[in-house]
Point group: C2
Chain length 195, copies 2
């Protein structure tokens, strides 16, 4: 790649993902990333002070892609019950695609997620905030009932663990997975519906 191109954090992170895809989480080094960009490793360190920082940032970027897709659902025109179902369907879909389209990269990011639990917790907080926004909308319209909206958002996220926690990825491609998802969502929507 032409070294005259400005070295931005995004270019470094894109190159890091390529290196992770080729070498895996255990073997990827900052020197590999610098070589892929045609720059010195010192240039990479000017943007990301340590290898750990770079690995945390690339993990955040991976998770942020899902957050961005889901933010569009939150901003969408659906009625709150349909929007809530769509949000979980989009989350399950995004996860299944990440796991199914490039299983090795998915495994690599699962390793990175385990070593960057603070990044993962921040991601879960963002997703729970999105759920809170949908619940708030539904409560405002008299469609949902929730004594504590934040607590209910968290409970919804935890009751759907099977459809987004990477430890369950092997189950996502089994024949009954979509039906499981549908019946759990129906039960949960009934649990928050106004009476």
């Amino acid at each position: 790649m032409a070294p005259t191109e400005t070295l931005t954090p995004e270019r470094i992170l894109a190159a890091t993902e390529d290196v992770l895809r080729r070498h895996g989480a255990a073997k990827a080094t900052v020197v590999d990333v610098a070589r892929a960009l045609g720059v010195s490793h010192g240039s990479v360190y000017r943007h990301f002070g340590t290898k750990a920082e770079l690995r945390g940032a690339v993990t955040r970027r991976w998770l942020d892609r899902t957050t961005a897709v889901l933010a569009e659902v939150v901003a969408g025109p659906e009625e709150p019950p349909a929007k809530l179902r769509l949000w979980f369907a989009a989350l399950f879909d995004a996860k299944r695609h990440k796991a199914g389209d490039d299983p090795e990269l998915f495994d690599t990011y699962s390793v990175l997620a385990r070593e960057n639990s603070d990044v993962v917790y921040a991601h879960i907080d963002e997703l729970t905030d999105q759920l809170t926004a949908i619940l708030q909308e539904g409560v405002g319209q008299g469609r949902f009932e929730a004594p504590d909206i934040g607590v209910t958002a968290r409970a919804l996220f935890e009751a759907t663990t099977q459809f987004h926690d990477p430890v369950h990825a092997p189950e996502w491609s089994r024949p009954g997975a979509q039906q499981s998802f549908d019946t759990v969502l129906t039960l949960l929507l009934r649990g928050i519906a106004a009476r």
Copy 2:
């Protein structure tokens, strides 16, 4: 142990669990089990035809202990909503105790469960049948509403994955685990309550 004592399947399985506890899933052999009982390995094979059969049977015995505790809850005097909550609490409790009291044996059985998925599926079917019985009772009394009781039982089991699937064992001892459990259960009970 005195070899004059009658060699029952239960004695063999108890000895197998001891051997698994001492040697782990990878190293335990039928010869170790026979030695612990003071009998020939041929005597063991008269009860369990293969090593795989013995490992499946000891896995079933481990899971059956939980099934037996939960069957008492199903037969108990509580009203259906309280009984349903108690049943899940007993399941979560049994799992936490198995994981926390003897973590190495728990890991050993997690390995055995992965190699005996048919035994695990049969166990999950039994648990779902117990849930179905509680739901049936509640629907009969006009306390619960469920369009398809078997499907709802399965959905309840899947929505509580985080509190019984061994892959989540590391999370069971974290400070917020009990509160998570309580809020998910409240949401699910609301989802099946008659209106």
